[in-house]
Amino acid sequence: MTVHTGQRQGLGLKRFGTPLAVVVVLAALFAWLGTLTLDSIEQRTLNASYLLDRTREHLVLTVVSSALVALLAIPAGIAAYRVRSKAVRAFVIGLGNIGQATPAVGVVILLAIVWQTGFYTALISLVAYCFLPVLRNTLTGLEQVDHATREAARGMGMTPRQVLWRIELPLASPVILAGLRTALVFSVGVATIATFINAGGLGDMIVNGLKLQRYPVIVVGAVLVASIAVLIDWAAGLVEDLVRPRGL
């Protein structure tokens, strides 16, 4: 998917346009829902406890997988960078390209067939799917650091470890965070597909709604998932701006 380049925005009213729009859409959604008379099938899904459960499952899947990706892929990217071998680099970039070409739905279903269905399968395929983009962003972010800056730090007497922590990682952080943001948004989408392998989430509503031909169920599921994706992307953008080193 797209890699965000992360532009700094003013922290004004503009910042809150996105969540405001989401709130308006959700309010309209529930107002519309209030005008409908629901049949028994619709009542079974369109109630607060069902909606909250599916939303929670969806968020857990998204957040846990992204956290795992951050814990695994960033150190792996740092390691790949520090070996400084052309072969490792070519391997990582090549693997990243193939990973990008792989359809998420294929990964999820393959893992379900060779292993089992359920939450943990979905979690692992999410981690596997988002691992490569974050790894690649970490590697390219570190490589992008200006050579002269690195040299100057070494000349000041910093050890390679100090250069990594104080110079290279802070300078690479916008690119690394942009990778994580992409991974988060990805996960919301892939977590929707997780319904195919019985891993819950809001995808359940979409699939059930389609199967039982209940349009309100589809609409609520789809709009909730879309709102989560938009809000997570917005929040990640906010975090990106807040943690960016001052000088950048």
Binding site: T18, V107, I109, I113, L210, Y215, A229
Partner: protein, 217 residues
């Protein structure tokens, strides 16, 4: 547990070729529509600040919407099959194409546009023979990104009976536990990956031969 892959392939390779061609066709059709719409939209907004940022922000938000959600919303209105698939693929292709059109047009040096106008070219002529050719390499890159995106999304569209290789991926799931479940999903997934890599390779050639001669490196 799984039937042997070579027997599976020998029996179904014709089927597989058809699905691959369908997948390619739906991606190509969507990209063609998205390119026309995206470039037009880019042309409308690239030199106006407010519409430009409005369009780019809207497209940036739109692309975060999970594809299954969009397909599900479209299917009651557009039915099943090609229609919801093409509409959603066009939808997701617009962001990279519009963004790159805007970036490409903004990168054209102002003095070139000015000299073209000074030579007596009309604005339309300037656009067609100066601005678009110079922005084209960037626009093609946008279409290439959109192509990678849509090949993967088209696989999910099989859930609303869309054309292409997603059919095999889902067939594996629906026959879970049977002899050929793994074969179906595995061949479907691998063919999607291969198709994506071939399309990406093709774009290197498309970019080269559709770029104006003076710009080729």
């Amino acid at each position: 547990m799984s039937g042997s892959l070579d027997v599976f392939l020998a029996r179904r390779w014709e089927d597989l070729v058809t699905l691959t061609l369908q997948h390619l066709a739906v991606v190509a059709l969507s990209l063609a529509i998205a390119t026309v719409l995206g470039v037009l939209l880019g042309l409308l907004v690239w030199d106006r600040n407010v519409p430009r940022s409005a369009v780019l922000t809207a497209a940036g938000i739109a692309i975060t919407i999970p594809s299954l959600a969009l397909l599900a919303l479209l299917s009651p209105v557009l039915g099943l099959g090609w229609a919801p698939t093409v509409v959603s693929l066009v939808f997701y292709s617009l962001l990279p194409i519009v963004r790159n059109t805007v970036v490409g047009l903004r990168e054209v040096p102002a003095h070139l546009v000015e000299s073209a106008r000074g030579m007596g070219m009309t604005p339309v002529r300037t656009l067609l023979s100066i601005q678009l050719p110079l922005a084209w390499p960037v626009i093609v890159t946008g279409i290439r990104v959109a192509a990678q995106l849509t090949v993967g999304i088209a696989a999910i569209a099989a859930y609303v009976a869309g054309p292409g290789l997603g059919l095999y991926i889902f067939k594996g799931l629906s026959s879970l536990g049977s002899v050929n479940a793994l074969n179906f999903t595995l061949t479907g997934t691998i063919c999607v990956v291969l198709l994506a890599l071939v399309i990406d390779g093709a774009f290197v050639l498309i970019a080269r031969y559709s770029t104006s001669r003076g710009l080729r490196v």
